[in-house]
């Protein structure tokens, strides 16, 4: 079991839930199990450019990206890049 934490807009779009606990072997599997999957992945199943993902505080890109393996009890945090105005 891993935990996924969502920022406020994604939590709102998930019916008010900002925390999901689910079974997933990889980061990508965990993210694709979320009800807001189509907000963080585009129509070609690419992670949107300004969506950052941290696993246990480490940028997912330094842990193997979407294919990076997860250990039981780890926490994934989705963070919107600092952008916009």
């Amino acid at each position: 079991m891993v935990t996924v934490l969502l920022p406020s807009l994604l939590a709102h779009e998930s019916g008010g839930r900002n925390r999901f606990e689910l079974e997933a072997a990889t980061v990508g599997e965990a993210l694709r199990a979320l009800p807001i999957r189509n907000l963080i992945f585009d129509e070609h199943d690419d992670l949107r450019r300004l969506v950052n993902v941290y696993v246990e505080g480490v940028d997912m890109r330094d842990r193997g990206g979407l294919e990076g393996r997860l250990a039981a009890g780890e926490t994934i945090r989705i963070v919107a890049a600092v952008a916009g105005g």
Partner: protein, 360 residues
């Protein structure tokens, strides 16, 4: 009866509630916080509200509410096929389908794409006749992207509809969206390299509207002038002499019953996109565009405002109400067909779109 104004802004959706006099307004919102609402509309067939919603991180979607904005559901399926090599950049305009197709909706988007939904806005299928249009390699994005911003249905013929894309031009379908014919004959594209007359496509239409009482009549506010067509877009007449300070502008509104009456908000030009002559000036024609007169009593002066392509609307009351929203966050209403204006809301985020509906 009451009047409902749906104001899409860069930071959420606002609703303005007014009575038939349209002189007192109550503001509600923001709704859909976190989303830029490029366009929102009430579907008069069933009362649902649809919003073309965009977020710079999470992309484009369509939100639907069946309770006037209290709760929302997001479209489940919206995107472009991988083989197209394109991705949806923004959702621009939602248009409810023909009366005879109660579950059908149309959605225009960037990059120059049109979608159709037959389930009330949950799943959207790209319209191949636009996505694979043979002239697509001659379309070029403007400052707002390659946006499909205008979708107009012929109320008397469910087979016929129009779209306008900046900068690709206007297109007509006579077969419910299967095939599309460019309808840009006579429409200038001065920003393109010099050539022998206007090109087939590539025009920068800023807004296209069809008159519901005379559906063969179309109006467009273009990057290069104001135009009218009386033959379903087959030919166009340029109308921006005789009283208009500029042919450049974005906003366009039509009188609901008088096909010769239209309203525009001219801007200085493409390189200085503020309202002309240091004022927020609406101009009105009552003779099909042969002449224009200023209809700005109650609008601010001096002012250097901007009204975007979805920023004007009209209602169907008598006298007709005319509405405009500015990038400065004001919404102005004329309950008297332009004879006088009141500021119905101020200090909103930049207004991207205005639609008006009647509610019980």
């Amino acid at each position: 009866m009451a009047v409902l104004v749906l104001a899409g802004t860069r930071k959420g959706l606002f609703l303005l509630h007014g009575d038939d006099a349209r002189t007192r307004w109550e503001l509600e919102g923001p709704l859909l916080t976190g989303w830029s609402i490029y366009h929102a509309i009430l579907d008069r067939r069933d009362g649902a509200v649809y919003a073309a919603a965009n977020n710079w991180v999470y992309g484009a979607t369509v939100q639907r509410s069946d309770d006037l904005g209290r709760t929302w559901s997001r479209s489940e399926q919206l995107g472009l096929p991988e083989e197209s090599g394109l991705k949806l950049e923004a959702a621009w305009h939602v248009e409810p389908g023909h009366e005879s197709e109660p579950e059908t909706l149309w959605l225009g988007g960037d990059p120059g794409v049109l979608f159709r939904s037959d389930d009330g806005g949950s799943a959207w299928e790209p319209v191949a006749g636009i996505l694979e249009h043979p002239t697509r390699d001659r379309w070029h994005p403007g400052a707002g992207g390659l946006c499909c911003h205008s979708i107009q249905l012929d109320p008397g013929d469910a087979n016929r509809l129009y779209v306008a894309i900046s900068a690709a031009g206007a297109f007509r379908s006579d077969d419910r969206g299967e095939t599309w014919t460019p309808v840009n004959s006579g429409v200038a594209a001065d920003f393109l390299p010099e050539q022998d007359g206007p090109p087939e496509v590539g025009q920068c239409v800023h807004k296209l509207l069809l008159h519901p009482e005379q559906p063969e009549r179309l109006w467009q506010q273009n990057h290069c002038g104001v135009y009218r067509s009386d033959d379903r877009g087959d030919s166009w007449e340029r109308l921006d002499g005789n009283g208009l300070p500029s042919g450049f502008g974005f906003g366009l509104a039509l009188h609901p019953r008088r096909p010769d009456t239209a309203f525009v908000t001219p801007e200085e030009g493409a390189e200085n996109r503020v309202t002309s002559d240091g004022r927020l000036g609406v101009y009105r024609t009552d003779d099909g565009g042969a002449s224009w007169s200023l209809a700005a009593q109650g609008l601010p002066e001096p002012a250097w405002a901007a009204v975007l392509r979805e920023g004007m609307a009209s209602d169907d009351l008598d006298p007709a109400g005319i509405y405009l929203g500015t990038q400065g966050g004001s919404i102005f209403v004329s309950p008297t067909e332009g004879a006088g204006w009141i500021e119905a809301a101020a200090n909103l985020p930049p207004v991207l779109s205005i639609e008006v509906a009647r509610t019980a």
